[in-house]
Amino acid sequence: MAADSYEDVVKNKESIPALEVAPQDLYHAKSFWTKYIFCQDAKVIGIQYGLTAVAIGLVGLVSSWLMRMQIAFPGLIPMDAAQYYQLVTMHGMIMVVYLLTALFLGGFGNYLIPLMVGARDMVFPYVNMVSFWVFFLAVIILASSYFVPGGPTGAGWTLYPPQAITSGTPGGDGLGIVLMLVSLAVFVIGFTMGGLNYVITVLQARTRGMTLMRLPLTVWGIFTATVLALFAFPALFVAGIMMTLDNMLGTSFFMPAIIQFGEKLTHEGGSPILFQHLFWFFGHPEVYIVALPAFGIVSDLISVHARKNIFGYRMMVWAIVIIGGLSFVVWAHHMYVAGMNPWFGFFFATTTLIIAVPTAIKVYNWVLTLWRGNIKLTLPMLFSIAFIITFVNGGLTGLFLGNVAVDVPLSDTYFVVAHFHMVMGIAPVLVILGSVYHWFPLITGRFLNERLGKIHFWVTFIGSYSIYFPMHYLGFMGVTRRYFEVFEGEAFTYSITGINQFITVAALVTGAAQFLFIYNIIVSSKFGKKAGKNPWKACSLEWRTKDVPPTHGNFDKELPVVYRWAYDYSVPGADEDYITQDTPPSAVANARAEQT
């Protein structure tokens, strides 16, 4: 469109005509089946992803309750060590992969990307639909491992060989570990199909005027996370396949010669550390696959509810991209004491601490967005504030663990458990909760109940902070993680029973509050206060759909045309404190952004 300059267009037509980007055959549902089950509309797929992830996530939540009961009140719930380890493993894997990854990318990605970039749908709707069903299959396979002889695997979510595939581990010599590996492989395949859509839709299907730097940070976060996944998931896939072969066909990729319970196994010469490298080459970026979408979304929540543009937008984008890139050269910080070449420690400690810088910048910019803002303490804002505190806390403890010499005493203790729950458990979950409060009016056309929401917020934030803040101190004492039972021997200076009981009670209460939230969702989707269009007065395009909730095709006959970035809040001189992205310059004649 270089031919007609901006001035000409505005003069002649008052606004730029819309352009159907990437002409596509919009798919139309014909029956119940194609409308709700095998649907190709990204919004429906997003909700399907969300519901499936939450359903399996509840299994993870209940597992955590059972574990906490065992730790604090052993014997109250009958359980043996094998079952405890199965709970730990399934809890960890479900939470990281099947809940958070699927929810952020499959759920939020599907729902928000087309809306926010101004597209009618994803570029490959059919592949998108298949992607969900493949994910669903992965969840079914995972769940089925509860019902096979020997039960699910108890190898820990890191699945380290040789332990994961030998008989000393629950599920290690049965179907448990096989089903876990197969489920992960299926997940990766499904995810690759989804990621194909997210990446290419963002790259090619943006509406007219939507440059990369006009995208909301939510899209940047999800987009970058998907690109990370594109590089990281193959590593998990490769590791999974090779381990499956070791397990089923007796190869020796990862299995050295070992003698177990007096019996020599047939393997020889494999390297367990090689598996760890592959696993963490996936596993560390995975942390950011969960974190980056949360970063993006929370930036938008803060900006909307503080009525102020996000501070340092460009830095925020760069930070997301830089963090994404660096996340591929820090993986071995999970292996400082794993027996790899000790000289790697210098390199990986340095890269790890470098990553702290862009991360810190993000935090500063969130806080500086509040500075001189006009802050509405809505529920999404409350959750964002809670996120910042939690994330800062978890990020700072990362500086302990990343600093190789400090990691030596702390690794594999409860300090690690506390750290990663703060930073990649609680913090992203707080963002998810906040964003449900934020986008629920878009998805259903109704608000969530504010009273219940407030209760939910207070219990969740205070509860989860009380679970994990004290837990760091157990780590300093040297309490090791993945212990079915901790014997209070000489190792510890002070009894850990009381604090463990406190943590467990906090965990039960916090978990229960989530059921209140689910109740709120169910009731409010029917009886909640009507929201109308754009209730938060946000700038970005998802609120500019033809109908609320958005219907098939998202926008009106013509796609919206974008005239500004997603953060024109409180523009000096404008009548309102926000100007939506598709408002043409002529409609805000005296606003600052238009004075040249």
């Binding site: 290419i200 090619q204 299907a205 943006r206 005027g209 072969l245 190869t251 010469g269 760069w318």
Partner: protein, 212 residues
């Protein structure tokens, strides 16, 4: 409509709120690349698959240095199979030329031939497996064996996936009187890119196993 795209660095340093930038941005088309989404999608898949094979090769290099590594022989059949793949790629070049000239009858004939060759290749690979097993090179023998079976299986799976796309392609030109020319050309192009990709992957894997 062709606008020159700014380099990625230029794009990322724009100030989207800057009035001068706003004017430039308003006429932006919304696309990042002047590429059809299908082509981009194929590239995406090829990147993922390349990463996967690269990772396998890295582990191969890591595993190779241990002394339980015993090189596998390459049966002559493997050379024949390689040759078959090679011929398929050449035929695909012919198909592309034909489709550019709108000679879909010719393209269809060659597509059938390629599909046939792909089947022959898969059967050939299977025979190689049998041959190796008969000679006592089991998968749990030396890690070199394990990698051999792993690589051939993965490559074969990729080819099977390619055959699914091949079916979609050939359907586009099956009924000579009813061809959506734009779509047919597009699909044929993607299909042949993928075949060339598979040949390249195979040559790398085969070369790797040949020399180590």
């Amino acid at each position: 409509m062709e606008t020159k795209k700014d380099s990625i660095i230029d794009q990322l340093t724009q100030k989207p709120w800057d009035p001068a930038q706003v004017k430039i941005d308003n006429s932006h088309e919304g696309k990042t690349f002047n590429l059809h989404v299908g082509k981009l999608g194929l590239r995406y898949l090829m990147i993922v698959s390349t990463i996967m094979f690269c990772l396998f090769i890295v582990t191969y290099g890591d595993r190779m240095i241990y002394d339980d590594w015993v090189k596998m022989p390459e049966p002559f059949l493997l050379w024949i199979n390689t040759f078959i793949l090679f011929v398929s790629s050449i035929i695909f070049i012919r198909i592309q030329i034909a489709s550019k000239k709108n000679q879909f009858k010719k393209a269809k004939r060659d597509l059938i031939l390629v599909g046939f060759l792909a089947l022959v290749f898969l059967i050939g690979q299977f025979l190689v497996w049998q041959n190796m097993v008969d000679k006592g090179y089991y998968v749990y023998g030396s890690p070199a064996n394990a990698y051999f079976y792993l690589f051939t299986a993965l490559h074969g799976l990729h080819l099977l996936g390619g055959l699914v796309y091949w079916v979609m392609t050939i359907r586009k030109v099956w009924n000579i009187n009813d061809i959506d020319i734009r779509k047919a050309k597009h699909t044929i192009e993607l299909c042949s890119i993928y075949w060339h990709f598979l040949l390249a992957v195979w040559i790398v894997l085969f070369g790797l196993m040949l020399f180590t």
